[in-house]
């Protein structure tokens, strides 16, 4: 269970410091949750608060009772984060080495570690590419490699920040299928309204606030109307 209490995050603007996200009270327990909203609405900040990549200026965020500010390391071992750009996520030269990096604390023995890494890459259909440079992989393959590396640490919650933004249709479908099969709790921020509906609950974030929270189809309709209204008035 993820819980936000009286959370406010402030940001520096030309006009001075102002709140960029305000969440009075929010509990996230469903296993598939999506977050939609315009660029700059506060989606990414909301997601980063969940694993402590961003910290609240006021209020608290806790995951299974662990405070993200006071117990950040313990939270990050439970909550993994997938970035929009997989090249920001992959820190080693090949998918195999990157997954092995994630597995270092679980497997001290190199042979066992390699075997576990190859098993995981095989699950993602990436075993033939295990030793290739991450720069030689397609966008979809990179995103899957980043996902494999993140899942290797066995998180109980997976937070994904616009995971399909850089992918073509085929790779987006591949990613959606892969995500659907995961046992973890998934919280996904996305502009892809089809991907958003692969959830049981959808939050619409606008101007730093959760303005709608409910069933995905209704949330998407609300968001379309909101976007049309904003586009019409500008």
């Amino acid at each position: 269970m993820i819980r936000f209490r009286n959370v406010q995050v402030a940001g520096e603007t030309e006009a001075g410091t102002r709140p960029i996200l305000t969440v009075p009270d929010l509990a996230l327990s469903e296993d598939r949750i999506s977050v939609i909203g315009a660029n700059g609405s506060g989606k990414s900040t909301l997601l980063k608060l969940i694993n402590g990549l961003a910290l609240p200026d006021t209020g608290t965020v806790d995951v299974d009772g662990l405070d993200t500010t006071a117990q950040g390391a313990a939270v990050r071992r439970r909550v993994a984060f997938v970035f929009t750009d997989p090249l920001s996520q992959l820190v080693m030269p090949t998918p195999l080495e990157d997954v092995e990096l994630s597995l270092r604390r679980q497997y001290r023995n190199r042979t066992e570690r390699r075997s576990a890494a190859l098993d995981l890459l095989r699950d993602f259909g990436l075993e033939p590419l295990a030793g290739q440079s991450i720069y030689q992989l397609s966008g979809g393959e990179r995103q899957l490699a980043a996902l494999a590396s993140v899942l290797a640490v066995n998180p109980s919650v997976l937070v994904l920040d616009e995971p399909s933004t850089l992918l073509d249709l085929r790779n987006t479908m591949l990613l959606r299928r892969r995500l659907a099969s995961l046992p973890q709790q998934l919280i996904t921020a996305t502009h892809d309204l089809d991907l958003a509906q692969d959830s049981v609950r959808t939050l619409v974030v606008d101007n730093g606030q959760v303005v709608y929270d409910g069933e995905p189809a209704a949330a998407v309709s609300f968001y379309r109307e909101l976007a049309a209204h904003v586009a019409g008035s500008s």
Binding site: A73, R78, A80, V82, S88, V91, R110, G131
Partner: protein
């Protein structure tokens, strides 16, 4: 970003005798090269060490072209060192210093080009494990060194890219036009790497 701007070579997959040599021996070869270069000034001994390291490189069937990479990356630095030592000492002394520098870089290349990063990290963890009783975290230490090794090619590639971009705008001679973007890029890279590790809960204190 240019992937070829490597001072220290990335791993070259292979099964040569040097690939199979235990990590400790390869490390001793690197340390020994440094000690000999420092202990024996002069052109002849350093040229012999350089020749020996080059022979090992070729005997391990590593691509000969990799021997040119450090020279391509460092030619200006080597030229300055050569000119200064020639002026301050002698032509032979200057050549000896450059030969010693190249010998050390090639010896470091032998280690990194024939040892996978994970194996290198395992070796570092084993070396640091006795310090655990003093509060050291071997995994964090190894991760730090591993990331440092990874960052060298990135920073060199970034330097080349920025220099090319500056030249394209006629700013090639301005150090500010090169140094400032490289520094900003380095800070951004460090933050990005930190976030990437935090995203997986890596690099945190084991007991936290």
């Amino acid at each position: 970003m240019r992937g070829h701007a490597h001072l220290i070579s990335a791993y070259v997959a292979g099964s040569s005798w040097l690939h199979r040599t235990p990590l400790l021996l390869k490390f001793l070869l690197l340390a020994g090269t440094g000690v000999v270069v420092l202990a024996l000034p002069g052109l002849l001994p350093r040229a012999l060490v350089l020749a020996a390291v080059v022979v090992i490189h070729l005997a391990a069937r590593l691509p000969a072209v990799r021997l040119l990479q450090p020279i391509r990356s460092m030619w200006l630095f080597l030229l300055v060192v050569l000119a200064y030592r020639w002026w301050a000492d002698s032509a032979a002394g200057a050549a000896g210093v450059v030969a010693g520098l190249l010998a050390c870089i090639y010896a470091a290349n032998l280690l990194t080009a024939t040892t996978e990063v994970q194996r290198l990290l395992d070796g570092l963890v084993a070396a640091v494990t006795p310090l655990r009783r003093f509060g050291a975290d071997p995994e964090r230490f190894a991760l730090t060194i591993g990331l440092m090794l990874r960052s060298i090619p990135f920073l060199l590639g970034s330097l080349h890219d920025v220099r090319d971009a500056a030249r394209a705008r006629g700013l090639g001679a301005s150090p500010r036009a090169v140094v400032q973007p490289v520094l900003i890029g380095a800070v951004a890279y460090a933050r990005q790497t930190g976030d990437a590790l935090a995203a997986r809960g890596l690099g945190e204190k084991a007991a936290d």
